[in-house]
Symmetry: D5
Subunit: 147 residues, 10 copies
């Protein structure tokens, strides 16, 4: 079963059982962003994690197995994103990207923030003037190798 179908099965099961991503993640025993990412076909679960996910969602064995195979990433959305919630992230790169690179180079030297040795969280901060979304990107700094 390919990942696109397996993602559909996950979404159907989640809707039918009325589970939240938070509840699924807790059952699987990993971070909410990561578990959601894996179930949407963009990360690879261990057999134990896939079994846990299969258990709470009532997935077929075939679907659970597919969650353990490294996916072909990135095809789930078109770029630039048409969905406004994702476009705002894209816009942030255009507006704040030049400053990001300057400050990264100043603080760390020449290199990048890894998107592989990387984790992220999405939190809600209540605020009387309007709640705020706090997204934390946490990636290892990788200095360019000189050879």
């Amino acid at each position: 079963m390919d990942r696109t179908n397996s993602t559909l099965k996950v979404l159907e099961a989640k809707a039918e059982k009325q589970l939240s991503w938070a509840a699924i993640a807790e059952h699987v025993g990993a971070a909410e962003v990561w578990v959601t990412t894996a179930l949407l076909g963009q990360a690879t679960m261990s057999p134990e994690q896939a079994a846990k996910a299969g258990e709470i969602l009532g997935l077929d064995q075939e679907v659970a197995v597919s969650l353990t195979i490294p996916p072909f990433r990135g095809g789930a959305i078109q770029m630039p994103p048409t969905e406004p919630a994702l476009y705002r992230l894209y816009e942030i790169i255009m507006v704040y990207g030049p400053a990001f690179k300057e400050i990264l180079n100043e603080k760390f030297g020449d290199g990048i923030m890894s998107a592989i040795d990387y984790e992220m969280s999405i939190e809600k901060k209540e605020d009387p003037k309007g709640d705020r979304v706090i997204v934390t990107l946490n990636g290892k700094f990788l200095p360019y190798r000189k050879f």
Copy 2:
């Protein structure tokens, strides 16, 4: 003087005086990411901030004035970014974007994280296994208006 030229003047002055973005930001009295963004032509300074920036960088009056005019944003980089440090942010949208939207909708309802009522920081977290880049995105949640 248009913003492209004024950005060049800022970069030349910064290089000549060997100032860091952190030092300039402290003198201007605002956050490092924001001050850098404004000096790179992607945000608008108040006259007081522009005066402070002009003071530490030794900018001409004409350059300082240009910093107070709302810029035409987003033209500083091409998309997808060719620079690896910026491409990693772009890749994060492709890989983690679907999960971001799911979790945002689950935690906040239908809407977006604003990229306008928005601030961000870039910090270094030392780690013996390799220092980590911590980027915090902090935007107001905007629920879709029903009418």
Copy 3:
């Protein structure tokens, strides 16, 4: 049921029952543009609104439920739009966009008109020289946050 299918069901039901968007909107109890937008898969109804829409259109429960789930917006049309009625809006951005930004900045300062805290209407103004289409865009001004 995904939104694309649910939109098809809505359009079939509307055609079969020969209902106007205006009549549906009145029954749902919200603005014509918004109700049409939601039924075309670009906005999220409350359960009560979806029940009302399901009632007048005779939709299956499954379809009605799908109307309450935040959609992945923007995929319904390609850009630039090939349909002439939509291309004219696109052309308006190219021709009047520069003036829009200048006047927005002059009247409101640096910021944007929100497309989220936003509503719009489409009205017919009769005119002997040819009726006119009056489209009103009404969005909250969001000033850029300085930090």
Copy 4:
């Protein structure tokens, strides 16, 4: 003198004389959006209007004459717009465009809202919860000719 240069001259003169678009428009005797559009190289002034514009802005004869020549429109911005204030208009087409076409066809029949026999205004509506931008698009309905 081509329109790109003539636009630059206008912007320099406006900055130097610290004139608002509203003041210039009043002097020229036409609507603010239209006068701004013409001065930004996207519409054609009559010789009288160009003379008035030249007067208040102190433009050379050569610049004033260039304002009376039909421009090659639309090249002033790239699409999709990178500037957030303009991108929001673009997003509105993607999200509300399908409903716009449905309602237009329902209210007027098969045809378009003209972008040529067209006018628009941009107004500020004060609101304690945040001022609102009111943009009114007013275009003649053009029914498709059958032949």
Copy 5:
């Protein structure tokens, strides 16, 4: 029934009955280019015209009804056209477009030739050196509105 399917039904019926576009157009009682355009899903027939078309082509009621609904235009071909007969028209815009605009502005003033209040014909002119295709574009001139 959507327009893509209804176009297929039309083409099948036309092939089976070995009708020419000219014959169908004569039966429908409108111009050949327009009737062909409508049957290919790019224009809207009146109920009477659709009935006539249904009669000669032997179409189901459902197909005939679909011909009376304003279509979403322009999706039938990709641009630039890969088909040589259509690419030549595209090339004509690139080569003769600049002259077209100059002459249009000189003869009519600032404005456009409407593609909505528009009709066209395609005729064969016999010529011993090779027959010639005569395409006549006939559109209302629309002057730009000043406001």
Copy 6:
């Protein structure tokens, strides 16, 4: 002198001498559309035609010579055209193109209308309901060679 510069010289001379394209064409002794096209750098004049054009416009010898060299065509506008007067022609291909190909094949067989052995005219037809632009495309039919 390359064609871009030579086009600029032509436009400057035309503006300075306040000549119409019609007057220049009459002096050169060829059709208005063709002469305009050649002077805009998209067709090749004979030495006699170039001399005539140079005479009426007062062009340098170098400019006149450049008009006799086959140009690299098609670079004068971007596609899709941003200028509304040209975009309407582009839209006509999308909307009427499928019918054009059907009728061409029906009337002439498999082949194309040449864009090389081709001429066109642009005329004004006065009409109390609004003047009409009549564009006539006249190209040799080229049947596909079978081999």
Copy 7:
């Protein structure tokens, strides 16, 4: 039956009967490149040719008929071609195209090599240092019409 399906039928029949393109072409009685092109849906056969092709390939009547209808050309491959054998032709245009145009203009005057009144062959020339592919393009020169 549309051309895409009819091409599939041809390829299946060719594989099943283990026929070469050369053998099919000989049976049809036309050039190998042309017959292959027609059977791949990019040229139009006469009824006699289609009958011959149907005979040797054992095609259904419906498939044979489809070969006689002018196809919508060019959609069989994406550009730039991903297949290396076709990309090399594309690269040849980029590298040798400028010289081709210079020499064409020098030898023939202003015009093009027709791709319609055109034929081509693909031959093998044995060579001890490696066999060579000899492709001959043979198109009528079409001089630009002056009018």
Copy 8:
């Protein structure tokens, strides 16, 4: 001196001295297509060839030297080509490309026609019905290596 400038110098010298490509090629002692390609910045001359070219064209030493440096190929034209003479070659790939690959594979096996170990000629074949352009592509067949 970079190749773009050196190409301009070549073209200016050729125009001034009224030399044909054929005459230059004869003086350099290599094929017309190749010499033209090299002088247009898409191939590399030996020092002797560059000296010969410099001699007949009267080029500065600096220009002649630049002709001996391997160029960065392919940037001289945009794809798809806007110039009709080059577009026809591009169209030939779309229309005849699928047949080319089929026949190449049938005659030679799996592999490509090299565009590196490659030569080509452009000849004029007089014909009372219209002269014909004969382009011969001659490339080594390269079989795919199995490993």
Copy 9:
């Protein structure tokens, strides 16, 4: 059976039998990269190799035969690649490509590294600081032919 389907059959069989690419390659008797490439539809097997592959994977005769037909290469992934493991290769071309060309020209003269007479390997080099991927590209140098 087309190659896309045959690739799916291969992947299903491989998953079901829990075979590694290394094991399959050993059975087929060719290099791991090449066998994997062929089974993914980007290279052509000999009948013997296809039989071997069919044997170990338990493929239908029809699938095995399809492996011996030259494929239409390159359509398996979109460019730029969205999958991070492949994007890194793409990025390497952008960052190290200019140096690759300089050094290639310096060491070999004007020409290319063949991608046809080409082989590659992917090895793991264990390293306490993190294992390393060693990819070796080995292509014949092809000098540009002068003619």
Copy 10:
């Protein structure tokens, strides 16, 4: 001095002094590919390396300093590359990329080969049947972080 200008100065100096990349790299004391990459504006030198490079090339202090500032990478070439030597690398990704990912995942698990902690070499392997280019890519394997 920005990197584009500084690259030009390097290339001019290298040409004038007739130095090879190999000789410069030896003087700088780092690998040939890396030194060439840095001098072409895609990597960052230490002050000592820049001084060495400045010494052998006779660069101004300003140029030497620019070599020590992290560049904005990737803008030196367009993608897909038009230069054949670089396009072959691009083609290799399309043809061998799917196998690369399969084998990488099989040998290393889910992750990527780093393009940052990365080095490469380009060597010449003499071969009587034609010399071979041996390119070795050597990047750290980065496993995807689970969180």
